[in-house]
């Protein structure tokens, strides 16, 4: 029988997923530092929900449970969704979002390798449409909050939606810079004036920019480990920067500068962790460039002109739909063939 090659040198899928989780750790650290330990509860909740629902669905679909659970892909989805949600999101929001991501977006399409849409972004989009108020209500970074919540207070808030008696909800939450910028611009204020507000940091959101920087660090680790290719993040960040630069140059009073766009919202998470999902993304090098650029353009347009403060989730889902088309039209030249 001819079953060559007899040797392989490839990291297992579980190792790849493990490295993605590892790359998220700096971001989580920064998160805890900026927003408090509540995010750990959210991550734990999402992970648990993802594993249980994945196991249940695998059983229903009569697939082996152990190899598929241990590939860690469900955990990656759970972590990404958890990190995309507001840090003090109520427990049921996390559970509903994760369930939707794993059950509908992943398993019902055939499980690992068969989902056309990024499961975490499907979960996020469903929550954003269904519960827009909760989804856009972010806690203020601890350094800005009038009364910073301790870990136990956060835990209590996540599960019972109640704050300590002496604390008002407005004291712990604030608008995100992207949201604030949008509403203030509608009130005919100028960007230079708006960004003087305390929620703005040096590059992006005060505090949040450190989380973003930590994601960048994790992303570079993934490129160095050859888990992701440079094409996607580079094309995404370059396009987002170029697009915001054009608008900023034309009218700096009305459009934020490129650095703000790169360091705000989910830009870095998207560049290194969301659009790099291989299953729902394109496979050709040129296709990756187009895909990432498309996500960046849509993200910018939704941020600036759309109804939501950040547009990453919708941008990714919209571009996911284009993947078969992109792949089909970006086939590289095969050795010995002329370009057709």
């Amino acid at each position: 029988m001819n079953r060559s090659p007899y040797i392989t040198d490839a990291p297992a899928v579980s190792i790849i997923m493990l490295k993605v989780l590892l790359a998220l750790v700096p971001g989580i650290f920064a998160y805890v530092w900026i927003y408090g330990g509540g995010i750990l509860v959210t991550i734990a909740l999402a992970t648990l929900t993802a594993l249980i629902s994945e196991a249940a669905l695998l059983k229903l679909r009569q697939r082996p449970i152990r190899p598929y659970l241990s590939d860690l892909s469900a955990v990656v989805t759970a972590w990404l969704l958890a990190l995309a949600l507001p840090p003090l999101a109520p427990w049921w929001l996390v559970v509903v979002g994760t369930l939707f991501a794993i059950v509908i977006a992943k398993q019902l399409y055939g499980g690992l390798g068969y989902n056309p849409f990024n499961p975490a972004m499907v979960g996020y989009a469903v929550l954003l449409i269904s519960f827009p108020i909760i989804m856009t209500k972010w806690p203020a970074p601890l350094i800005l909050a009038q009364t910073p919540l301790g870990f136990m207070d956060q835990l209590h808030f996540i599960f019972s939606n109640t704050l300590p008696t002496d604390v008002k909800i407005d004291a712990v939450t604030s608008a995100t810079p992207l949201d604030y910028l949008k509403t203030q611009l509608m009130l005919k204020h100028e960007v230079s004036g708006i960004t003087q507000a305390p929620i703005f940091g040096v590059w992006g959101a005060k505090g949040g920019e450190f989380v973003t920087a930590a994601y960048l660090l994790g992303g570079l680790y993934l490129i160095q480990q050859r888990i992701i290719s440079w094409h996607l993040p580079t094309a995404f960040l370059a396009t987002l920067a170029a697009m915001s630069l054009v608008f900023y140059t034309v009218n700096p009073a009305h459009f934020a500068n490129p650095l703000f766009h790169l360091m705000s919202g989910a830009s870095m998470l998207c560049a290194f962790f969301i659009i790099t999902d291989p299953i729902s993304g394109p496979t050709t090098p040129r296709g990756k460039l187009y895909f990432a650029a498309g996500v960046a353009v849509l993200t910018y347009l939704i941020r600036v002109y759309g109804g939501y403060p950040d547009g990453v989730a919708f941008a990714v889902l919209l571009m996911n739909m284009c993947v078969p088309l992109i792949d089909a039209h970006t086939q590289p030249r095969v050795f010995g063939h002329t370009k057709n």
Partner: protein, 655 residues
Amino acid sequence: MNSIIQFASKLLRGQTAESSEVHKFHGGVHPEGHKQLSTSLPIAKLAIPQKLVLPLRQHVGYIPKVKVQVGDHVLKGQMLAEAEGTVSAAIHAPTSGTVTAISEAIIPHPSGLPDMCITLTPDGKDEWTTLRPTDWRNTNKKELVASLRASGIVGLGGATFPTHIKVRADGKSQVHTLILNAAECEPYITCDDMLMRERADEIVKGMEIVKFLLGAENCIVGIEDNKPEATAAMTEACKALPDTSVKVVPTLYPSGDARRLIHLVSGVEIPHDKRSTDVGIQVFNVATVLAIYRYFAFGEPSIDRIVTITGSVNSPQNFKVLFGTPLQTLIDAAGGVQSGTTHFIMGGPMMGFDLPTIDVPITKAANCIIAATPNLFAPPPPAMPCIRCARCADACPVNLQPQELYWFSKSDNFEKARDYNLFDCIECGCCTYVCPSNIPLVQYYRYAKSEIIAADKAKEAADLARERNEFRLARIEREKLERAQKHAERAASSKTETAKTESTKVDATKAEEVKAISATTESEKPASSTDDAKKAAIAAAIERAKALKAAAAQAGESQKKSDAATADTPDASGKSAQTEDEQAKAEQAKKDKQALIAAAIERAKAQKLAAAQAGIAPKNVEDASPAVKAEISEIDAIREKAKQAVKAQDSDSEA
């Protein structure tokens, strides 16, 4: 300034000054070499075994024709089987002895199926037959090529393509560059490496002969940089030669693939639908040119080769092994196997295959035998779904999209797989090597390729069957018409004899009936006159017959021509046979086909003409005249014959 930029770009591309002339190909992988296992000891000569089993199928192409009988005593180097057909190679006796069997035995092939083998029991004298060295510099090239046909030499790199076909001039393309493939990129294999270290002079002499045969102007030896000793030996041996260079290429599997190596050392990318000779390049393995040297310098035919025996044997080494030697003899010479050895792999770990049993002989293709343990080659974990990570696409040396090919092959979407250039896949295994999901990708491609080839063949057969069936239906209709006409004639004559008294009414109705029958069988349009129609039909049939005959004659002639080309004429003048090649034959086949098509058009025209004359529609109108019928059937037979000849040629040129 420019030089600084160039230097910087070279640095960026990771190239050193030394290898700056190397043109990288896309992808490739770096499997661990394990070559030092079998290079610590020099090449040893294996003793003559008790029994030699020589499979007739040791090369690509037709099996040779056996020239000996059981019981014959043969001398070392005597031809046992003669090359038959264009792509074929002879088999010689590796030592003197007696032919004790010509029967089926298991051969070293992935199928594990038995095939015809000649069994030789050595007499121990190792007595050579009369050897005839050739003064190749002063001999006609055509003669040399014809003589090479009797050498039994095939590509010893593993492809086993008969060598005499590679050196003959096809009259169309002039080879200007000979590339010596010394890359030996597969892990574990070191037979070429050791051969170069020990016998570089003879290799270079063989290279000179091949260069002369091809009329090439330059030679390039391509060696991977993991063989410094071989590189040094080859550089030394080539030193005095003009237009010859040794190019060191980076160790990157599969740099030993001919098209990849050509690109590496010359920068030429062979178009996917062309051969290297079309752009003036021919590639030979080092062991093959050495065999050519031995053949011309000493008259020695191909009776042995260097085989690497490695893996879990106690003393991995390279041996000079007579073809037909049982594998067990080789294993014993290498100190036997270590415990835990489960099976043997022939070839390298990237493209080799499991030997079906240990009871197989060493053949011309056996460059390496690896004793395998589960420790060395762990069985792959169960395959997971493809996560479209495209690592395979990054590794593919042909720049295919293996993940797409896998998807199409798995879902039996073969047309799509073909569109995505499945047939450009060289089955090197790089994609499987890097797959995190442990998917046996190459197996999927092999499956898809075989399914597509089988479907193509079935379609061809179906087309032929349909054509035959249409012809048959036409014949049946024609016969029906003939019967109706005969019946009408008979009825008419009997009526005039016996039923004169009957009323003319009945006559009229009968005639009406006959008319109706002929009308329905002939055509929808009413015939103005049956006589006219008949005449026209006869004319049409004759016209058609003429056209067919002409076509058949044409086809027959070209068939004869190509027959002559195929016929093996190893005479001294060597005028006819060797100048033709498969491509020429393929063209001939095309011409024949064109002739047939032309005949068909001619026929259609004749029919139309006749119809126009008679003023009826030309629908299967046939004449009953037995002479014409006989002629038609004769022509049909000729036509069928011509067709079969064309088909045979097609399959021949494919082979």
